[in-house]
Amino acid sequence: MSVKLTIRQVGDVTVIDATGRITLGEGASTFRDAIRDLATKGDKKLLVNLSDVSYIDSSGIGEMVSGFTTVTNHGGQLKLLGLSKRVKDLLQITKLYTVFEVFEDEAAAIRSFT
């Protein structure tokens, strides 16, 4: 199963609920296209919910970094919510925990956007 993205609005924050796998191929490109579309549309507060993502490979990580850069370049913020232990480990190994703001709780994540 590739990734399925559901987009919802909580106040002025756009929450992207991801389900499945973000890996090289369809999963990574679906994720990339969605983030670029939102950034281009002018959404500036993006929260990516990875609670139901079972697998991310280096391509998926690359797309998350690319999404972060795209949103930042458009003057916005991209943050992460609900990381599994495996995804947290990936961020530790790749030192990307120094790049991404990560939250366990959605309400706290929503409040953190300025």
Binding site: G25, D57, S58, V65, F68, R86, I93, T94
Partner: protein
């Protein structure tokens, strides 16, 4: 030692085939779930490198997968027929200036997930990656 040898096309489908085959062998040895995840990811990343960066999806080039099963370890060798690369010439993905690069983290993850990792020039060409995961060292 029990050996599995597969000759795979340079497609992304081969990545799935290799991952499934190696995980089947790893399960038979008795690796725990988290170790299976790490082995699967190391194989996936190595296969992607072989198909995408090594063979560049060239239909005339193959990826060679060998799996050696021992009671205490799993050895996986993946070789492509590409141009080869210099491991030392790759940018360090952990350097501050490279953290926001989109790619270049595959080898880092592979090395984090297996106990032994070697890259060498293949015969007659291409790149050969050899990975070992020990059951005893598995956490």
């Amino acid at each position: 030692m029990v050996e599995r040898d597969l000759l795979l096309d340079s497609t992304l489908d081969s990545v799935e085939i290799a991952e499934d085959a190696v995980l089947h062998d790893a399960q038979e040895i008795g690796f725990a779930e988290e170790d299976l995840h790490q082995i699967g990811m190391a194989v996936r990343e190595t296969m992607v490198n072989a198909v995408v960066h090594g063979n560049r999806y060239n239909a005339r080039k193959k990826v060679h997968l060998s799996v050696l099963k021992a009671p205490d370890r799993l050895t996986v060798v993946i070789a492509d027929e590409g141009e080869g690369f210099d491991l030392n010439a790759l940018p360090n993905p952990l350097a501050e200036e490279n953290l926001l690069r989109q790619s270049g983290r595959g080898l880092l993850l592979i090395q984090a997930f297996v106990d032994e990792f070697q890259v060498r020039r293949g015969q007659p060409g291409g790149t050969e990656v050899r990975m070992v995961k020990y059951l005893a060292k598995a956490s």
